[in-house]
């Protein structure tokens, strides 16, 4: 496997979607190619950073209001349909 192929398969490699044979080829390339190893490592760090920081939800101070608004809309909707 060359660098270009490795990059093409990188996400499948990270997600363990490759066949055993391709996974082994990728591993062999990564063990000898510093550049591809850096790309793998920094891609995994990128995913990690977003996974850890990206799960902020509705701001705590907005949550109750939003739920109350939903309840009001549903109540109004029922009033209309009856």
């Amino acid at each position: 496997m060359n660098c270009e192929e490795l990059i093409r398969y990188l996400s499948d490699y990270i997600d363990r979607n490759l066949s055993d044979e391709l996974q082994a080829d990728a591993q062999a390339h990564l063990s000898t190619c510093r550049n591809c190893h850096v790309v793998l490592d920094t891609t995994q760090q990128t995913i990690f950073l977003y996974k850890e920081t990206g799960r902020r939800g509705i701001p705590i101070e907005r949550r109750a209001d939003l739920f109350a608004r939903l309840q009001r809309s549903l109540a109004e909707r029922k009033d209309c349909s009856s």
């Binding site: 996400s11 990270i14 920094t42 990690f48 950073l49 850890e52 920081t53 907005r62 939003l66 739920f67």
Partner: protein, 201 residues
Amino acid sequence: MAGAPPIPLDALRAGDPAALTALFEAFADRIYRLALGVLRDPAEAEDIVQETFVSAITHLDRFEGRSSLGTWLYRVAYNASLDRLRRRREEPLPADEPEDEAGEAIPLPRSLVEWTVTPEQRLADSEVSAELDRAIGELPERLRVVFLLRDIEELSTAETADALGLTEGAVKVRLHRARLALRERLSVYFSERAPQEGDVA
């Protein structure tokens, strides 16, 4: 979808307040993040949460149980978000980029610098978190939303495809492009920034 407790649909249909609370608790944050990811506007993301739940409860009979409730809600929320995005733009949407699903070459990585500070150390840094937000904000919407569902919400490829109305192949290609684009952008940022005082050697 992992982690979501079962929602009693019959109770929801009957207007049971506890079922509504359970639905909200299980899905409001996920819908909010998806809508925020598409629209990049907290107030509009709240509107989408509202619209999605009202629409879902109104049309609960259309939910066939073919996909999970979560995936169905994502689909409703995503379509509502796209509608808003289209209405918001005064100028017509830019012409679609060439379709990447047809096997167009993935750009090769340019930055090959190692990141010297560990992710754990970066997480404590508010400037880094602002940069993460800018970087994802600059991705095209169609890449951003796939990255969000796959790598942040941890949906499977099949669930993401279902929620967004894409093929699994398109989800994979878009995810790959999104990851590489974000990596490139962050590599530039981290290599310009490091090493700095205060970073642990």
